[in-house]
């Protein structure tokens, strides 16, 4: 495989990982919203959410490995692991690194979830929301395709979806509070 081919894979998996992360976030919020509200929450939402979360991490890892193997990207082991060490687009890569950490923490605390206190688990889990936002920023800043209209339109649509899901969640929280008095 040539550098150029790894570069294509970096870009493709980056885009897919972003979409998956937003999908996981949306299903997470939807599921939790039903939890607080009175409507039935289909079990498959949570199941799909967990799966999407895991798949997000897998695609992110492929994205990082591909950017590492592309010798023109300037991404080495240090740049992958330590925020702020990338020479080009330092901030943009930093967002990606932090996003990756939040995804990893979220996924790996979700399997042994029962061992954690619920509040702590949720706090840790919700860092992934910040992660999704940072991943979006990373994509926007570093993406070679970020200048194309299709990419920007797609990013705007996924951002809108995420904000909508967040809105549903917050609304459910507020409604629930009011009902409880």
């Amino acid at each position: 495989m040539t550098d150029t081919q790894w570069w294509y894979i970096t870009r493709a998996t980056g885009i897919v990982a972003t979409v998956l992360a937003v999908a996981a976030l949306v299903f997470g919020f939807f599921f939790s919203s039903r939890n607080t509200g009175e409507r039935r929450r289909p079990a498959w939402w949570l199941d799909l959410h967990n799966w999407l979360g895991g798949t997000t991490l897998v695609f992110t890892v492929v994205h990082i490995v591909a950017s590492y193997l592309d010798r023109n990207s300037g991404i080495g082991l240090l740049q992958v692991l330590v925020p702020g060490t990338a020479k080009n687009a330092s901030w943009a890569i930093t967002w990606g690194v932090i996003a990756t950490y939040t995804f990893a923490i979220t996924v790996f605390t979700s399997w042994p979830r029962k061992r954690l206190r619920p509040r702590l688990w949720r706090l840790v889990h919700l860092t992934s929301v910040v992660g999704v936002a940072l991943a979006g920023l990373h994509a926007f800043q570093v993406g070679i395709d970020a200048t194309t209209l299709a990419f920007e339109a797609g990013l705007a649509i996924t951002a809108a979806l995420a904000v909508y899901a967040l809105g549903v969640r917050v609304l459910a929280l507020l409604v629930n509070r009011t009902h409880q008095g």
Binding site: Y8, R11, A12, A23, W45, D47, L48, W51, T55, F59
Partner: protein, 302 residues
Amino acid sequence: MSDRRILPPGDPLLARLERLERERQGTNNRQVPTGTSPRQFAPPTATLNARQYALQAARQYAPQPAPQPARQYAPQPASPAAPPASPQAARLAALQAARQPAGQTARPLAGKQARRKRPARVAKFGALALSCATTAGLVYLFADINTTQAANQALAALPTAVPVATTGAAPATPSTVPATTPVVDSATTVVVAPTTIAAPVVPVVQAFNGDVIDTRYGPVQVQLQFTNGGISEVAVVAYPDGDGTSVRINARALPTLRNEVLAAQSAQINSVSGATYTSNAYKKSLQSAIDQARAAGITAIA
């Protein structure tokens, strides 16, 4: 144990309760003696939160199921004196009882519900397949865009045509032989009158546009430039560039054809394989330009 008595033997909930109990004991022993609770657990009322309290209350005051002969659950003695095995077990049992509508038997997590623990199989594998397909599609798209961009760059690097001067009387068709000798300064492409130039000092470029030759993919037209009577450059005025495939084919073919013309100094050149239409039209247009040059008095052409 009171929790067990509301459940039929073999009930999944019962298995779950027993597992919880074993976990609490830290044993893996599957033979938990029934009827005796190894560790009696009495939750202090103070530690019950509102929800647990409500659930326990609901459990105690829920209407009892009417006894039924088949698939009947043992009637639950609403005895507050017999505490559940663990808080989790208490919650489960209480939930079970609280959910149970009046006059109906308890409906444990059984059958279809229990089996459908992982219900989103289609959506999950659909999402995975879609993700992989999208990745592959994007990689293909990026590669395609990149090749097209490279081709466009190669085409942009080709020499450009220079303006061809024509007399006012002659129609401005590409095949028209310039009536007065067009003299073009090759560096600035400013047309100057031939008389103003000291002929031997400045290289004189004479340009002739060949005929426009139509192919099924678009028109082809070349421009021959002569410097001091020899073919010094061949530019392409028009070539099929309406689609990515044409762009890529011509990005490969046109530089090859140009090199051949410069080497052969004639229209006796080979076609580029895979670019037959362009090659043939190119040769025809080239030949017409050479004919014009001959008519204009340039003779040193093979």
